[in-house]
Assembly symmetry: C2
Homo-oligomer: 333 residues x 2
């Protein structure tokens, strides 16, 4: 664990801070006595939820804006010490249905945001949220950062372009930027009321709703699932590591698990339920990448970061959170 | 050489067909008795020049439109057999100065074009023009297609995203798309009236204008320069090779040459002139990638393509063309 007192009194901006990981990160920064400003376009379909910031240790200012806008965004980031750039469109299915919107959210807005940053916050540290999906279908496992990037769907392409633009602005304009390629993150404050955010939130919702967990195919594919507190720790570690600048890091769990086992762990955390196998839906099969697990030894080596929370413990915490706060996160009951 | 009679009577669309490579390709297709439609936004600063199509063997229809528009573009590509997608912003310096424009031209318009294609020309063969700059600074030489893609500037990022979107649309939507990563292409119909198109057209203009050829630094960096007719042949070979679908290919000369030697060859072709060395300009040094040469053995193996024109022969043809047609290409005299 890094010493979070390093953020006390610092100016921190979290884009996408009303969303899943962004809100958990904002709350952690507030807890560490940072001055936190959230910039968020507040698109509910993208996971933004003002209730995500309830219970903050200190007030968090929320600027409602697309990060590609000027004006209010420039004002919010001027003089920032740390910029955690988590805004974006995250659904792979949505990206295939509305690819231009995905491009605009994940690349065009980020490019305009980088232009803003280099003018009004050229000395800030910028940590960008990327995804394991930039790799596409793995050629070999585990996947480390030297694996070729052949994204398998539109969202993978746009997230990779956003990441690479951050690195170009580091190299050419001196922004102290790096990017984290996140695996399957789960935990409190994730949107679970649709089934478009990945397999784990879908499983949790199904279990809480007393629906059988639907597994596509046999469920042998491996996934690495990371509890959101571990992801938050990775963002903080990257922000305070000078050696992170200009680099990309896999942020993933070192213990890949088969989807069927993950489903069983969800049932165990909820305390009831069952699993049914169904054939792959066409649109999911088209963009699925098979088994995946990442090698995050670079993050361990350079950032001193390692996952601390195992799946069963993370799921117990997650299920406990949704049981308490369910009305805020679950439109169906 | 492939048998160009295969294109006789086929419906061919060339985007960016008023530009440098696009016009040479359009003329070759017309010569092969294809029905050629050019779609071009006709932005002079992007190299579009209606005079590029003069002397065509058959009439070429020109649709003036951005490929991202619907309407006229959808009409032009409906039922196309072959789509050669060369539209784009090509200047790396311009991309750094106006990155959002570069993104819009090289990614957003292409994404909308791919959406059009999958609806109105789902069975067409699509050959996309990419660039060696997607690799960034080479980790080792020569660079083959498995080399990691870490683009060094905004244009490299946007060209890579455009290329990857073509491959996603192949995989997911069944478009028969492939992409060619082009090295330094030179020859007739290139815009040489500014110094933003790369080193060879700049050298040619300087020599024709009786200016000394300015070499940045010592000129030891290696480049592979390909005569435009060889590039045209690569597009045609890719279009008729079923094994090309879903693939990327380096299209480069197998004989890399130092920049100083290239400059000397330009002087030899022009028959006069001299070379001066100057320090690297800041904005060029920021995005330069050092020596580069590609390995195009995959194109040889899969497409049966090999470069046929050496540098001195290509330069003699190029200089001869500009001597004859100079007023169309050179605003300064």
């Amino acid at each position: 664990m890094i010493d979070r007192r390093r953020f006390a009194g610092s100016n921190c901006v979290v884009t996408g801070g009303l969303g899943f990981i962004g809100s958990n990160l904002s709350l952690a920064l507030a807890e560490a006595e940072a001055d936190v400003t959230v910039i968020d376009a507040a698109v509910a379909s993208q996971g933004a939820n003002p209730e995500n910031l309830l219970g903050s240790a200190r007030p968090i200012e929320v600027v409602q804006a697309d990060i590609g806008e000027q004006g209010a965004v420039a004002e919010a980031v001027a003089g920032a010490d740390f910029v955690f750039n988590l805004a974006g469109q995250v659904s792979h299915i949505d990206a295939m249905e509305n690819p231009v919107f995905d491009l605009d959210m994940n690349v065009r807005s980020h490019l305009r945001f980088l232009e803003t940053l280099r003018h009004v916050a050229p000395d800030s540290v910028v940590v960008h949220a990327s995804t394991r999906l930039v790799y596409g279908r793995p050629q070999s496992l585990p996947v480390d950062e030297t694996h070729p990037c052949n994204p398998h769907d539109v969202n993978g392409v746009t997230k990779l372009a956003g990441e690479q633009l951050h690195l170009v602005y580091e190299r050419v304009h001196g922004l102290r930027a790096c990017s984290l390629r996140l695996c399957n993150i789960y935990g409190p404050r994730q949107r679970i009321d649709d089934d478009r955010q990945g397999v784990l939130p879908s499983f949790i919702r199904m279990a809480l709703d007393d629906e059988p967990l639907t597994l596509f195919g046999k469920g042998h594919q491996l996934r690495d699932c990371l509890y959101v507190d571990d992801a938050v720790e990775a963002f903080l570690a990257a922000a305070v590591s000078p050696a992170a600048v200009g680099e990309v890091f896999n942020i993933s769990h070192d213990k890949p698990l088969p989807l069927r086992f993950i489903a069983e762990e969800v049932l165990a955390a909820v305390g009831r339920g069952r699993i049914v196998s169904v054939p792959w839906p066409y649109e999911q099969a088209q963009i699925d990448i098979g088994s995946y697990f990442g090698d995050s030894s670079k993050a361990a080596r350079v950032l001193g970061w390692r996952p601390a929370v195992g799946l069963s413990e993370g799921l117990v915490r997650t299920v406990g959170f949704y049981r308490e706060h369910r009305p805020c996160y679950l439109s169906s009951t």
